[in-house]
Symmetry: C2
Subunit: 324 residues, 2 copies
């Protein structure tokens, strides 16, 4: 077998109902289900080339050599693919991402979805989308969702093979706009992977997890009915519950910045004025402000009024991971 | 019986372990116990004069006529005293407070502690401190604690008469300094009384309450051992748990302002550098920054660096309510 290579691309996603904490940390089986929107507009593209000449994997991220922790995580993920494909040599992995990495923008979701799809294609493995999703999950829990487009649900299954994402509604179903407000483009101090393992130290985590079916159901219904008001209520509550658990973990994790709080307050003020807008914040300081195409101008005006230096990225529902 | 009057004063207090939500809302029997520090440096002084000529109570607050809701709350509280004393006429109540009212600085705690003590004295009732504390609680849950000085615990009893505060350690036991950072001196949008009734709508409240005995025990031990590091950890976690419940209530209550968050982050940064400091935030945007006399200069320097317009009040452990 000579060099076999493939290129795949994937969008990150924003969780509307968030997963935090693992039932099985090694296998990344989440403590609760989650629902997300795949974010067209932001993209990671990854080339994987297996090469019998290579004893070790080689990784570049945005044309720079990957750091040791990233290299190890990629190698462990490729090992899963190598075992399935019976490959015993290394790969060259080149990944390019067009949005800030490690800043709470789910860069690992896009990265591991693209790596999974490209890696399997390069290895000659023909997997269905559910299998690709379960495999992507092993690299990054939220990557399982980026395999699919539009609105996606990741079910918290009982074991590895039962824990994969599935489509809830297509990208065309509801043209939600996500204005991603970057309040702090620096890499975050604690990675999501490290954070997940702290979830159980919060006295609030069990309550958050046991309440998850209610939130998932409310979100599902709101998405399917295109009911923005209902979506807003459950999405903001779910986000605040995530941060409640993180803040009360031991040691505590505080991701919100003053600018994040100002954006959140402005979004609530706008919604109280009848403007369809809501916020959700992942494990980072950036605030995802969801709105509808017709309320985007009002939301942008409100954000522009804030006395903080904010940069805004824009995303709309996008497709699942694809081979390039 | 002619005019009978008395003057009493009381300090507010800052809860180190906070009470939020009632087991019995009408009787203000709290859902969980609490521990506080009585704040010498801030004061409410109240004159109560019962007068057979009066059919209705008359109230002034800082020399201005009290508003209808304040008048009603004072009258309901005096009614309890009138029933106990067999009085059937009104009172003149003049209250003066030397710190911002209704801004999350526990003004109602000082107000109802002073009102209870002055009202009982004016009515000729001779109650013990425990009875005064239980009675003050009916006016404002946290007022039960301001009857006592220093470090105080309010036990969540099974009924009215069993729910009163008791001293945990004297004001002289540990010279904690409280720098109260006013990030927003405006009256808060939702009173604590209204907020308490929302506690049960948060999916996190039950977990907060059931975890309270652990936090109370940790706080008790830290206070008695004068262990600032241990105190800091449980006090900040307890404060964040309170705000977690408030933020996830329905409708949600968001008290933190961007400036609050900046102060909280600065305090954590200072503590990570070895400076004894921690924060706690009541139902308002102001941040109580606790420190020791020797770390007060470092804390003040850190706060002065923040790009927010902050006003600082200073408090130290003070005595319980007293007759003037």
């Amino acid at each position: 077998m000579g060099v076999s290579e493939a290129v795949a691309a994937a969008h990150p996603n924003i969780a509307l109902i968030k997963y935090w904490g693992d039932r099985d940390h090694a296998l990344r089986i989440p403590a609760n289900g989650s629902i997300s929107l795949t974010l067209g507009g932001l993209k990671t593209q990854t080339r994987v080339g297996f090469d019998p000449e290579l004893k070790q994997d080689r990784l570049t991220i945005n044309q720079a050599p990957g750091e040791a922790t990233a290299r190890q995580r990629v190698t462990e993920h490729l090992d899963l693919i190598r075992v399935m494909a019976g490959i015993q040599f290394g790969a060259i992995v080149d990944s390019e991402t067009d949005f800030p990495i490690g800043a709470g923008l789910a860069s690992s979701a896009a990265a591991f979805a693209a790596l999974t799809l490209a890696g399997c294609a390069a290895a000659g493995l023909e997997l269905g989308r559910s299998e690709l999703s379960a495999l992507a999950r092993r690299g990054s829990g939220s990557a399982a969702r980026s395999i699919f487009g539009g609105f996606v649900e990741l079910v918290a299954g009982d074991d590895d093979s039962a824990t994969f994402a599935k489509p809830l509604a297509t990208a065309e179903h509801w043209p939600i706009v996500d204005l991603i407000v970057l309040t702090d483009p620096m890499p975050k101090p604690i990675s999501s992977t490290a954070g997940h393992s702290r979830a159980e130290t919060s006295p609030l985590q069990a309550a958050r997890v046991s309440d998850a079916p209610r939130r998932l159901q409310a979100c599902r219904e709101a998405v399917l009915a295109r009911d923005f008001g209902r979506l807003a209520e459950v999405v903001e509550q779910d986000s605040d519950m995530l941060h409640a658990v993180m803040m009360t973990s031991k040691p505590a994790l505080h991701y919100w910045q003053p600018g994040s709080l100002a954006v959140m307050a402005e979004v609530r003020t706008l919604r109280a004025q009848g403007i369809a807008a809501c916020y959700t914040v992942d494990a980072g300081p950036n605030v995802h402000c969801l709105c509808l195409p017709e309320t985007e101008p009002s939301l942008r005006q409100g954000l522009a009024r804030l006395p903080f230096d904010l940069r805004i990225l824009r995303a709309v529902p996008g497709p699942g991971a694809w081979l390039v």
